[in-house]
């Protein structure tokens, strides 16, 4: 069974995603930030990583880049809440999600997905990516 690693600083996002994916039959591990996620990759490895775009410490883009560099075969999905995302929210020079997602793609993400998505949407994307690999 495929292994999936979820990296998100929101606990509820982690829990909900874990439940949905486990019910779909995947093996799921969760990490609250980038460094923890990289540690888990080292320990357990994963076929697919789903990471939030912005997190304290190493953000989703940096994490995606590292994972892509180290684990060629691992698929990566980057999630975003849309809107402005910046360390200090609502700053006028905040970076837009679009440019963030664009840089995520450049960093090596296979797919980007915008929150809120439903279970069906998520499973479709996950299944497709895993089939491709």
């Amino acid at each position: 069974m495929a292994r999936i690693l979820i990296i998100d600083d929101e606990e509820d996002v982690r829990i909900a995603l874990k439940q949905v994916l486990e019910r779909a039959g995947y093996e799921v591990s969760v990490a609250a930030d980038g460094p923890e996620g990289l540690d888990l990759m080292k320990e357990e490895g994963a076929d697919l990583v789903i990471t939030d775009v912005i997190m304290p410490g190493i953000d989703g883009i940096a994490a995606a880049k590292k994972i892509r560099d180290m684990y060629r075969d691992t698929r990566i999905i980057v999630m975003s809440g849309g809107g402005m995302i910046a360390p200090a929210p609502y700053e006028p020079d905040a970076i837009s999600t679009r440019s963030y997602l664009a840089s995520a793609s450049r960093a090596g993400a296979d797919r980007t997905i915008t929150k809120p998505f439903d279970r069906h949407e998520l499973l479709q994307v996950v299944q497709k990516l895993l089939e491709e690999s």
Partner: protein, 499 residues
């Protein structure tokens, strides 16, 4: 009086009067005294000639002449000329004319000049040698006719001089009029020019060299001033226009800035909102899966799911406004079929009673656009127009055409460059808006409708879509008359620039 003296005719008349006052008395004196002298001299000559005639007559008398004969001679002397006295002194005895007044007989006083003794008679005595004894003939001639003649001559002289003076004044008046009237005309025209009628020409019909030269100079000056004036007016108008344009651009920039920061704020909120919504959506799906379909709990959870869907829609609208929605599909296409499709949708959404007028030019240049967003834009604008129509009276018109944006128009809109644009217009004849409302219509959640009717996001979404297409939206509205939205979308494929 002093005012009249300070005019050209006044000065001229005064000058002439002064000259004549100085010249005329000596002239009068010289002429009249010359005439007087001549008259007196000729009087005396005449008198002496007469007297000599009678002396000759007495000289030719016989020595034994009778006294009667002497008296006859004296009488004839009295009757000749202006005689008034005639007597002869012979040997100490005086014989007088019988025509002489008795009182006059003793009056004889010898005159050596005209008018001596103030007796109006010129007396003279001459020796007579023809008689037996030495005798002296004494004659007197009336001077008064000469006096009368002199008065008449002086009067005539005065008349002539007066007539001369009068004629001089008349001629002077006429001459000064030929100077003054063109000057007055120049003055009238100058006044007209100074009070704004700058196109009047300064060209009097005077043949006086000085005046026509002055008029020419003034006319040249006027033309220069008119030129300067026109240039100044032009410059002032240009400056005012530039200032107005600058202010409008500033206001637009300010407006855009405001909307952009609102977008940033709203986008940030939507981002957080989506992070909260995400686990909710998934938890709901899991919970629903765990429950039997007929569970009363499931029914409520389905309702919650529906609400979450609505919340997602709202958040997506906010993101469209703040231009941070996920990438829409951009294509370069003719807008006509896209707009037609939107109109079909709009017809279905609006009540059948609403008069919807369509004018779509099918031959517009293609535009780089996201078709769904353009349709969304039209739907939102028509929805807004419908809400502005009270009781469905009036009409809504949607038109699509192509325009050339001029430099002038571009200079007044920061988001427009000169060039080819496709213009979408949505107009209604509804209640219109005041300027204060127009200022704020694109702000998210700004609504003039009562609470619960519309989200206040429709026009914000429109604005976000236009920005996303690198276009410009302008509003023309008058309270009570209606509103028109003009959407300019660039034809040259410059759409969707990330800002």
């Amino acid at each position: 009086m002093a005012r009249h003296l300070n005019t050209i005719p006044g000065r001229l008349v005064l000058m002439l009067l002064l000259i004549h006052a100085l010249l005329m008395p000596p002239l009068f004196y010289v002429i009249s005294s010359t005439v007087e002298r001549t008259m007196k001299d000729s009087f005396i000559d005449n008198v002496r000639n007469f007297a000599q005639v009678f002396v000759d007559r007495f000289d030719r008398l016989e020595a034994d002449v009778t006294e009667q004969r002497i008296i006859e001679l004296l009488d004839s002397a009295m009757l000749s000329g202006q005689g008034s006295y005639a007597a002869i002194e012979v040997g100490g005895r005086t014989v007088g004319s019988s025509l002489m007044n008795v009182q006059d007989a003793g009056l004889f006083r010898e005159d050596f000049a005209f008018g001596e003794h103030d007796d109006d008679v010129y007396y003279l005595s001459l020796p007579v040698s023809g008689l037996a004894e030495p005798a002296v003939l004494k004659l007197g001639y009336d001077e008064s006719p000469i006096h009368e003649d002199l008065v008449a001559v002086r009067l005539t002289l005065i008349y002539v001089l007066s007539a001369y003076l009068l004629l001089t004044l008349v001629v002077a008046g006429f001459m000064s009029a030929t100077i003054v009237s063109p000057l007055r005309w120049l003055q009238t025209v100058s006044r007209a020019i100074s009070s704004g009628d700058v196109d009047r020409e300064l060209k009097p019909d005077s043949r006086l060299e000085e005046i026509s030269a002055l008029a020419d100079d003034l006319e040249r000056m006027r033309r220069n001033l008119v030129g300067i004036n026109a240039r100044l007016k032009e410059e002032i108008a240009e400056r005012a226009q530039a200032e107005a344009d600058r202010r409008q651009l500033e206001e637009q920039a300010h407006h855009h800035e405001r909307l952009r920061s609102l977008g940033t704020l709203a986008g940030g909120v939507a981002h957080e909102f989506n992070n909260v919504l995400q686990p909710m959506v998934l938890y709901l799906e899991l919970a629903l899966e765990d429950l039997p379909a007929d569970s009363p709990i499931a029914e409520n959870l389905l309702r919650v799911q529906e609400l979450a869907r609505r919340a997602k829609g709202l958040s997506q609208q906010i993101l469209t406004f703040s231009r941070h929605d996920s990438d829409p599909r951009f294509v370069t296409e003719n807008l006509a079929p896209i707009a037609e499709e939107a109109v079909t949708m709009i017809r279905a959404l609006l009540p059948a009673t609403v008069d919807l007028r369509i004018d779509i030019n099918p031959d517009c240049s293609p535009v780089k656009c996201a078709p769904e967003q353009i349709q969304q834009l039209l739907v939102n604008l028509c929805n807004n127009a419908h809400q502005a129509l009270s009781d469905d009276a009036g009409y809504i018109s949607v038109s699509l055409g192509e325009v050339q944006v001029s430099d002038q128009l571009a200079s007044r809109h920061s988001q427009l460059d000169a060039g080819q644009y496709v213009l979408l217009e949505v107009q209604d004849t509804g209640m219109g808006m005041d300027p204060a409302t127009q200022e704020r219509i694109f702000e998210p959640f700004f609504t003039t409708h009562e609470v619960g009717k519309g989200t206040g996001l429709g026009l914000s979404v429109v604005h976000g879509i236009v920005e996303r297409h690198d276009g410009e939206i302008t509003v023309e509205s008058k309270p009570g008359k209606g509103t028109r939205f003009n959407i300019f979308l660039p034809c040259d494929g410059r759409g969707e620039q990330s800002r």
